[in-house]
Symmetry: D2
Subunit: 120 residues, 4 copies
């Protein structure tokens, strides 16, 4: 479905869900950022102490794969909610950032490199 669903539509689903529950009062930027961090951390916890091979096996296992995908959805939920509440156009922001990244990471210098732009 990723090929036909817009960010706007996903934001709308979440807006409706939260407004019906009268959650605007709890969903300020600090709490939503806490939501993003804590859910992201639950995803990371799956990989703690695991080798790359073990992680690949986790993604080949339907149950584990589904759990990790759900964690990712949990992070996305809070990102979309924050963007919706504070009127941030994620597409515009992402494209701006990718434009900046292209300047920061020119192909000829960063192809095959794991360096941060501040390190070169």
């Amino acid at each position: 479905m990723d090929h036909k669903t817009s960010i706007k539509e996903l934001k709308e689903i979440i807006r409706k869900f939260c407004e019906e529950r009268d959650w605007d009062q709890y969903h300020n930027a600090k709490e939503l950022a806490i939501g993003i961090v804590t859910e992201a951390s639950e995803l990371l916890e799956h990989f703690r102490f695991k080798s790359e091979k073990e992680i690949d096996e986790m993604f080949s296992n339907d149950k584990k794969r589904s759990e990790m995908s759900e964690e990712l959805a949990d992070v996305l939920y809070f990102i979309l909610r924050l963007a919706q509440r504070y009127d941030i156009d994620l597409t515009t922001e992402l494209k701006k950032k990718m434009y900046k990244n292209k300047k920061r990471y020119p192909l000829e210098k960063f192809r095959g490199s794991n360096k941060k732009y501040t390190e070169l």
Copy 2:
């Protein structure tokens, strides 16, 4: 632009950017999850020790607003990259999660409540 850009298109922009730089070798699930957490934490750091009123003022300030939006884009970048690398359809996952959330948080019990479903 959020109303007309699909998740698929955003994933494509990021896939192209990373593949041109030959970064698949560094972008495994653990590293990308670290990316999500650390960028999310940079967003959260903006709000540390700030009151709700101060945070609202930050969003009214163009420079601060732009900084926070960029942090959000940084988190989204790693989410989209992880989804692209491991073939996760974010739209499907988010809709599945919202379906689950509707069961977990029935309107009559959770309207106006800040409780977690496990607490009621």
Copy 3:
């Protein structure tokens, strides 16, 4: 017990526990830092969407208080283990940092202020 136990003693308990289990091979700096972040995030999750009043009540409740204290111990475990593995003297580092903080946050400017030193 905090009044008579040194950081060194706590590190020793953890070193012995981990070496007996032959865990040095898994406990590199990246994994231990993941450990610190993910455990810290579990602590933070207790406070998500909670008001200050609700959090105070949680600390008055023996069961909740004990859960939160355990999360804090989990974070401390990984900090001590990282310090032990990489030969970092936490006392020295903390004292150096407090010295720096005193310069960064002079009393006359920061008494009663929630500002970061970079903001003033």
Copy 4:
């Protein structure tokens, strides 16, 4: 100094520093937990996309080593402050946790294993 300084003494240094600045009003459990997570994440960010070999080199480099040690001290600062504010004896909590860990991770089953106790 880790061999002769008690946790209690470190808490005292921090208590004095914060009380002189009248920061109790800002230092509630949620904010301090945010402090722990965000500082821990700054430490983790040093290791993002780095190989084990590169990380070892970072610890051999005095400047980098000092930066990472300072990040660790930043995390410890917020842990000690939270423990001091909410009257948590970290030594007792850590010892309780290690006792639990010994039960959860019996030597004969977990020697050389990277499994979580819930996985075996």
